[in-house]
Amino acid sequence: MNQQTNTAGRSINSAALSPLARLQQALADQLPKLVMAPTFLIIFVCIYGYIGWTFLLSLTKSRILPVWKFVGFEQYEKLFMNDRWMVSLENLVIFSFLFIALCLLIGMVLAVLLDQKIRNEGFIRGIYLYPMAISFIVTGTAWKWLMNPSLGLEKMMHDWGWTSFSFDWLVDPDMVVYTLVIAAVWQSSGFVMALFIAGLRGVDDEMIKAAKLDGASMPTIYRRIILPSLKPVFFSCFVILSHIAIKSFDLVAALTGGGPGYASDLPANFMYAHAFTRGQMGLGAASAMVMLGGVLAILVPYLYSELRGKKHG
């Protein structure tokens, strides 16, 4: 049979299209962009537009309502003179450092332990990870009860005979920030473990075999070959954990309420309090911009190295 006869006479000349068909054609060409239109709006208005708006607000004297009277960087000066803000910053540094370090350490150790051909590995992994599915509000509520100075851990230890045991960090202004660390690490370390396990499973088996034939012991193989090859996982975890730390708001609200006094405030709580409950919109906006600056200081180098790595890799 001859295919050509079948197709002869079919005209596909674009110039011959009717106006209506051409309109349809133009519409079809623009379809992908039309579909993305809501997302354009989100990106340019609701993200970057709003950031600009917040920045402008931070330059004004706005209190309960926006007042478009610009006062330069006065709010930022006020912010860094504000003791509560400085406490929240200091808390953030302590909290993030311990939170990130402990999560990475615990997560990594658990991942390596679970990588030893453990029976029921999936089940155990599930136990370590489930706190991640829970809201920080629930986590805060639970740990608030566990660390209750009179009825919590302290009482349990007393009941068990350790009468000198004392644990009242929740009401101790110097120690309260560490309660945040405990609860947050409980919630998020399993996440790090999951990422590291996924990373470990991706390590080339033949590389490990080669190292074994080279005479390396398992601990050496982990230390010198496997874990170093997980550097990207490490960085991802670092970025995600920093992000969680800087955003932390709900945990403070539920576990300590920022107290005693404002001893356990974090910047996010400061921002919320001033922008929404204390009628200090300008100051709240300024604190939000500082938070953004903090995130970008971590994110930009990370994204930069990621993109560069992609181009070269």
């Binding site: 001859n2 295919q3 050509q4 197709t7 079919r10 005209s11 596909i12 079809a28």
Partner: protein, 371 residues
């Protein structure tokens, strides 16, 4: 009537031209092969023919229709991809019928067409399977079936066999050739395999760096290459390139080579007229391995044939013949000898050089200088 005409087609992704003015035209029913090293722009050109990439400048015509700005779906083209690109969620039959379904062909006609194609390609027993349950060769057949079902004006094959193992590849090559002969379809076929190119093509376009180096029949490409690149790309083992000096007289130009005994010998050239002005220049002599053989009695009288003692470095018997690596003018040369001719590595052998299809290139530019 030309089935496909590509006029001055240029492609630019933003950083320099990937395709630098392609001109190709083929008749209806012809089998065109685009061949060239990886990255030279073959797939890009295919995608432009299919309408999957825009044309930066230039025109593409199918028959008399300018399709440069026509949507892929309106071009009436089918394409077989290197990765086959079968829809994994659909059965083989659904894959084959998909294009017809979109074109609103009635159901019973679709079924008939699937049946016809399946029979043609001997995949009737696979129709209900999903692509994931097929072997590489079977997937390849289904991908071709999908293209055949639509009976388009033009078929595009982008390295369709490169994911198959060697044996299957040869089988499918034959099959594709049979299909083309039986159906008389117009095909553009991309490959980087020069054997595929030689065996399948009516015409070959040899590409490099976004430029068509030569466009012609397989015979033209093989025997009369435009330049050293084309000469070296087509043929296996590749053509020998021997640096040499032209000598002799304007009426009988010769080329000087040094034999195994250190004696300078003068070999005749086929086209003295074109090379007369080059006498005394260093040039590159191109000689295919099958033109250096053991002494063949029936060629003794040929004026283009010379006996030459040559040093044997390595012998590689393949069964059908013996490849010998030898040396000439300080360059290794491949020779193709009959299987029963005895040579010893390290010793000199008396070989026969047939200069009737020798070609000459400029030493600096690699362009042909003997036409």
């Amino acid at each position: 009537m030309a089935a496909l005409t590509i006029e001055n087609a240029v492609k630019n992704y933003g950083q320099g031209d990937i395709l630098k003015g392609i001109n190709i035209s083929i008749e209806s029913g012809e089998f065109l092969i685009l061949v060239g090293p990886s990255g030279c722009g073959k797939s890009t050109l295919m995608n432009m023919i299919a309408g999957l990439e825009t044309v930066t400048s230039g025109r593409i015509l199918m028959g008399d229709d300018d399709v440069t700005n026509v949507q892929p779906k309106d071009r009436d083209i089918a394409m077989v991809f290197q990765s086959y690109a079968l829809y994994p969620n659909m059965s083989v039959a659904e894959n084959i019928a998909f294009g017809l379904e979109i074109r609103k062909v009635p159901k019973h006609e679709r079924a008939q067409e699937v049946e016809r194609v399946a029979k043609l390609l001997q995949i009737e027993h696979l129709l209900d399977r999903k692509p994931g349950q097929l072997s590489g060769g079977q997937r390849q057949r289904v991908a071709m079936g999908r293209a055949l079902a639509r009976r388009p004006r033009l078929y595009l094959f982008d390295e369709p066999l490169s994911n198959l193992d060697a044996k299957l590849r040869v089988e499918m090559r034959t099959e594709i050739k049979k299909l083309h002969q039986n159906l008389g379809t117009t095909i553009v076929y991309v490959t980087h395999d020069q054997i595929e190119a030689m065996t399948l093509a009516d015409r070959i376009a040899v590409m490099k760096d976004g430029i068509v180096q030569q466009f012609g029949t397989p015979q033209e490409i093989y025997n009369d290459p435009n330049n050293q690149f084309v000469a070296g790309f087509m043929g296996s083992p590749a053509m020998n390139f021997i640096p040499a000096k032209l000598a002799g007289t304007a009426a009988a130009v010769t080329v000087e080579v040094t034999d195994a005994n250190g004696a300078v010998q003068q070999l005749p050239v086929p086209n003295s007229a074109a090379l007369a002005s080059q006498i005394g220049n260093e040039v590159v002599l191109g000689l295919r391995p099958e033109k250096i053989t053991e002494p063949l009695p029936h060629k003794e009288a040929d004026p283009m044939v010379t006996h030459l003692p040559m040093k044997v470095l390595v012998t590689e018997p393949t069964g059908a013949d013996t490849m010998v690596v030898s040396e000439l003018n300080g360059t290794q040369v491949d020779c193709r000898l009959g299987p029963r001719f005895d040579v010893t590595p390290g010793a000199a052998a008396d070989l026969m050089v047939d200069m009737s299809l020798a070609v000459f290139f400029d030493k600096a530019t690699g362009e042909r200088i003997d036409r």
